[in-house]
Amino acid sequence: MEVQKTALYNYHKNLGAKFVPFAGYEMPIQYKDGIVKEHISTRTHAGFFDVSHMGQFFLEGDETLTESLEKIIPADLKNLKVNHSKYSFLLNNEGGIIDDLIITRTEKGFCIILNAACKENDIKQISQFLKKNHKHFLNNDLSLIALQGPKSVEILEKLIPGVDNLKFMTGSNFEYEGEKLYVTRSGYTGEDGFEISISNTKVVKLIDYLISNEVKPIGLGARDTLRLEAGLCLYGHDLNEKINPVEANLKWAIAKKRKEVGGFNGWEKIKNLLANGSEKIRVGIKPDGKVIARENTKIFSSDNNEIGFVTSGTFGPSVNAPVAMGYVKSEFSEIGTSIQLEVRGKKYGGKISELPFYKKSYVK
């Protein structure tokens, strides 16, 4: 398959981006400043992320569309109001996570933001549940820009008056340059911020404005350190088809009503797990020293039994220490439990830690 590029590819190039192949796209991993500076400037000012590789999947239909989607998504879509968003997932028959996503109710139906690497399969999986009168399309004419950081609201409000009024996980249509765009107050960094769905023809103008307000471009590298500090999962690493939401410590994302009534893929399995707990569970991990426990690092108990593995690990610039997430046998998941991490054949001490590592500041 040919490598794909977002509408901002040349713009990134001019900003000095270093590119890497990611989910079939050529994406910036970092710019001139490097990961740590990009990370810090997002936390202290604001940064923008080109996440146009993610799928913007639109569905239109009557109430039967809601019923169809609820068979594969365990959110309470019936009671989801227009312009409100939920974090949820697509589940397979075993309750495994096919993808994690943000779903927003629109006037005509729903919009789902899908991970780039999963989007084709996701659409296939969702389509199985759709009826003839349900329309669906992946909109490749739209870019998606995440603007994240404490100054985001002040900066965007000047350009698009009204975004200030959005509460976390809600969105609205706005006018910009004579076109409609859709803005949600959301993100994946642990900071206040927005995701802006804007036509490929207008996105450069928006970025010009952000840069003139000292918003730094942020690559995939800092996106990863930011989301990990915020305790958020990365699909394909912390989540996959063999992991269910209970194991992933994401049962909060299954709607209360859906937990009681079920009616979605993998419900029998998940009902049982909700009642009895899972054998392994996702936890936060803090190595004691400076050693970085990266993905696939083996985790041992203090008495040297193998109890799990790391799924994401890096240095957290705002925590100023290494941070990681992984799966351990549930009896070792209590906060503060001493563990050992095997890095390059040597065992280093660490502790099960609370998530997030970095305190959020969402506007509710």
Binding site: I29, Q30, G34, I35, V36, K37, G221, T225, K290, V291, I292, R294, T314, F315, P317, P322, R344
Partner: protein
């Protein structure tokens, strides 16, 4: 101290008598990005030419540091293990990785000069 010599794996060596000082090049730090973890060898460790001797990690990935020259480690630079970021600021000065007592000065002589190394980096961008 002798002139610095350079390896294809982006380490530098300087020589004082039979004690070599080894570090990673500025070019290497630019490729690695922000350095957040360093592991240096303990005194007494025997290293072979092109054998793994230390570890350097950036926010992106872990990399091995190889010794461009054989010998016995006399000192690892604990200061950079405590402050890994210092490798980014002064890689070819205060932020050396380890010193070792060498066996064969011939190994040093075969390494690249500064000019040769700069040319090598230009021809092998990565």
């Amino acid at each position: 101290m002798s002139e610095k010599k350079f390896s294809k794996k982006h380490e530098w060596v300087s020589l004082e008598g039979d004690v070599a000082t080894v570090g990673i090049t500025k070019h290497a730090t630019e490729m690695l990005g922000d350095i957040v973890f360093v592991e240096v060898p303990d005194a007494g460790k025997a290293v072979e030419k092109e054998g793994q001797a230390a570890v350097v990690e950036s926010t992106k990935a872990a990399s091995d540091v190889y010794s461009p020259i054989s010998g016995e480690v006399t000192e690892g630079n604990k200061a950079i293990a405590d402050d890994p970021g210092s490798v980014n600021s002064d890689p070819e000065g205060a932020s050396w990785f380890f010193k070792l007592k060498i066996k064969d000065k011939g190994e040093y002589d075969t390494l690249m000069s500064k000019d040769e190394y700069d040319k090598f980096c230009k021809e092998n961008p990565s």
